[in-house]
């Protein structure tokens, strides 16, 4: 792959960026309310303080930007977790990290109903970290192969989802929270953008800066040590970033699946396996995929809105099966 020249990832990055810009503009100009697309576009360029302008700037734009950040978080977390565990089936969803964050958030929401907004980020980190730690321990113990580890992750996810269900049934609160649990950005507000923004910047930024070092994790540990790198320290950083990226995403949108699993695979096929390239391009492709899925969810159920988590699952599940099938064929 590297032999085909270094321009390829840059060109691909430019293409992805253009596609992302186009999807964001489409997301901002299209909506269920009776606002002509052309008018919406002109308001995007020159806001005039009218309620229509507020619709574009305070309802649609934060939603599109929120999708950008959640998409980047999940995709980068996906790259890191696949590298860290050397498991192509790893993702924040399949390893139960999203479910861990959801469980602790739901517990906190039931116990403290006044907990809102930024307050849900910390419980999300606690849940994501607990599950992340367990999975990492399983993965470094070496007792399980890729497929077994993925199955273990999915089992953990199922247990946690069942616990969430039990809590909701016991509290008769299922109606209120079921939409959030599907993974949705319908409630997007600038407030949520500000909540996730620092974590996206720090998480993705750190992942990019340390990107070259993560390559060592893809090798086995003894090779990494002989190359003079402290694999354990790099691994710890990767685990920390996964928790921050996935946890903050779940806190603002609920658990959205498949982005973290699919994006690294797609990018790896298109641009090869270099860690830095993988992280950088995934940070663009994740937002592209999530924004496109959200737009699709708004069109498909028009004039209602399908939660974006349902759309990513509908697209992602067949793609996931394809990956499994190819893995087997190899």
């Amino acid at each position: 792959m590297a032999g085909q020249g270094r321009l390829q990832p840059v060109a691909l990055g430019c293409l992805l960026l253009m596609a992302l810009a186009a999807v964001v503009v489409a997301a901002v100009s299209f909506g269920v309310s009776e606002l002509p697309v052309r008018h919406a576009l002109s308001l995007l360029v020159s806001p005039d303080g009218s309620p229509d302008s507020a619709l574009v700037w305070d309802v649609r734009l934060p939603r599109a930007l929120l999708a950008v950040m959640i998409g980047a978080n999940l995709a980068v977390a996906g790259v890191l977790i696949q590298t860290l565990t050397r498991n192509p089936l790893a993702s924040p969803q399949t390893f139960g990290i999203n479910a861990g964050a959801s469980l602790v958030i739901v517990l906190c929401l039931i116990a403290l109903p006044e907990l809102r907004g930024a307050g849900t980020v910390w419980p999300a980190f606690v849940g994501a970290a607990a599950v992340g730690l367990a999975m990492w321990a399983l993965s470094v113990s070496g007792a399980m192969n890729d497929m077994k580890l993925a199955l273990a992750g999915i089992s953990i996810q199922l247990v946690l989802a069942a616990l969430v269900q039990a809590i909701l049934i016991a509290n008769n609160a299922a109606q209120d929270i079921v939409y959030w649990l599907a993974g949705s950005i319908n409630g997007a507000q600038w407030e949520k953008v500000w909540i996730i923004l620092p974590f996206t910047l720090i998480g993705s930024g750190a992942a990019l800066l340390a990107g070259r070092h993560f390559g060592v994790l893809a090798l086995d540990e003894t090779t990494g040590l002989s190359l003079g790198q402290n694999a354990r320290r790099v691994g710890g950083l990767a685990a920390f970033l996964i928790v921050v990226l996935a946890g903050s995403a779940v806190a603002v949108s609920g658990p959205i699946g498949f982005i973290g699993l699919l994006v690294p695979h797609i990018i790896r096929r298109l641009a090869g396996g270099d860690q830095l390239t993988l992280i950088a391009l995934s940070a663009i492709a994740g937002p592209l995929l999530l924004n496109a899925a959200d737009l699709l969810g708004r069109v498909a159920a028009y004039p209602q809105e399908m939660p974006v988590g349902i759309v990513t699952a509908l697209i992602g599940a067949p793609a996931f099966l394809l990956i499994l099938w190819r893995q087997r064929a190899r």
Binding site: D52, L55, D58, E114, R116, V178, Q189, P303, E305
Partner: protein, 310 residues
């Protein structure tokens, strides 16, 4: 997401199971001259004499029983006795039998009831078990319209052996509503919407919901005309697109998405907000409870808030 799918498949499964159970349970009961046959959504049930110990598995049944002067011995109160107090406007003596979603069958059985009133959506799956405990009738409460609830009062009265009392309660109620409706100015064309504010989005109640059908009975126009009672997960943009002229937001104590949306300047795009016809209402009264008294309360609140009358 798995939760989302589970709840749907479970519901469908429950309906199938319930239908199958109804076919087997209703058949053998034939004898006893004093017994009445009460037909309901899952078939017909033989009831003898006048039941005294009644278990109600939905809030609306408790209110219907109250309209007939009966206090149930057991209620699925979701372990929140305060709600029952608010529902009836008074304190009553009863035993809790768990949550509406998952009634505790052992507690129901321990009360030795002679009549159980269950909800079609939530309890069809356990109809056979309930029927083994006591004669059970199944009505539509959870997705019930105003008309369904009214008919339910008569069915429940019939099950109690006092059908005329039920018909009288409904007639009295109709008179109360008619007196309230008479105060609404003629030619009201504005579109009314009730939305329940959740943590992250709103659930919009359509013409098929209980409140929506009360609006219609009052001669008012629900903003969303649909056969599905509730449209959940509505974003602010969807709300702006629905654009109600009179907007009632049902909130809980905890704080909801309404707190954030009302400070968003796009919110003023909504006709009701522009014209000062945005009102906050109690979620229990407007969304959780369904009954004759609740309908009167809704009509009264609308007159007081929207028409400054009543």
């Amino acid at each position: 997401m798995s939760l989302f799918q589970n709840s749907i498949s479970r519901r469908q499964f429950g309906l199938l199971l319930g239908a199958a159970a109804a076919a087997t349970v209703a058949a053998p009961a034939l004898a006893d001259d004093a017994a009445r046959t009460v037909t309901h959504l899952l078939g017909s049930t033989e009831i003898a004499g006048k039941p005294q110990r009644i278990v109600a598995l939905e809030f609306s049944f408790v209110q219907s029983l109250d309209a007939l002067g009966v206090v149930p011995v057991g209620i699925t109160d979701d372990n929140q006795p305060k709600r029952i107090e608010q529902l009836l406007g008074k304190k009553v003596e009863y035993s809790s039998v768990g949550t509406r979603l998952e009634p505790n069958l052992e507690l129901v059985s321990a009360l030795a009831p002679d009549l159980i009133i269950a909800d079609q959506l939530r309890h069809s799956a356990i109809y056979a078990q309930l029927s083994a405990i006591a004669p059970t009738i199944v009505l539509n409460s959870w997705e019930g319209s105003y008309q369904t609830i009214k008919e339910g009062v008569v069915t429940i009265a019939d099950a109690l052996g006092e059908k005329d009392k039920g018909e009288k309660a409904v007639a009295d109620h109709d008179a109360v509503i008619a007196a309230l409706v008479a105060k609404i100015p003629a030619g009201e064309k504005r579109r009314f919407l009730l939305a329940v504010a959740n943590a992250d989005s709103m659930s919009l109640h359509t013409s098929a919901s209980f409140t929506g059908s009360v609006f219609k009975a009052m001669g008012l126009t629900p903003a969303i005309d649909s056969t599905d009672a509730v449209e959940s997960g509505a974003s602010l943009e969807r709300l702006i697109a629905v654009n109600p002229d009179v907007f009632l937001v049902a909130t809980d104590a905890g704080g909801t998405v309404f707190d954030q949306w009302k400070s968003n300047s796009a919110f003023t795009n909504i006709s009701a907000v522009k014209s000062g016809n945005l009102f906050e209402v109690d979620r229990n009264q407007f969304s959780r409870f369904r009954g004759l008294k609740t309908a009167e309360m809704i009509a009264g609140e609308i007159l007081a808030k929207v028409y400054k009358a009543g």
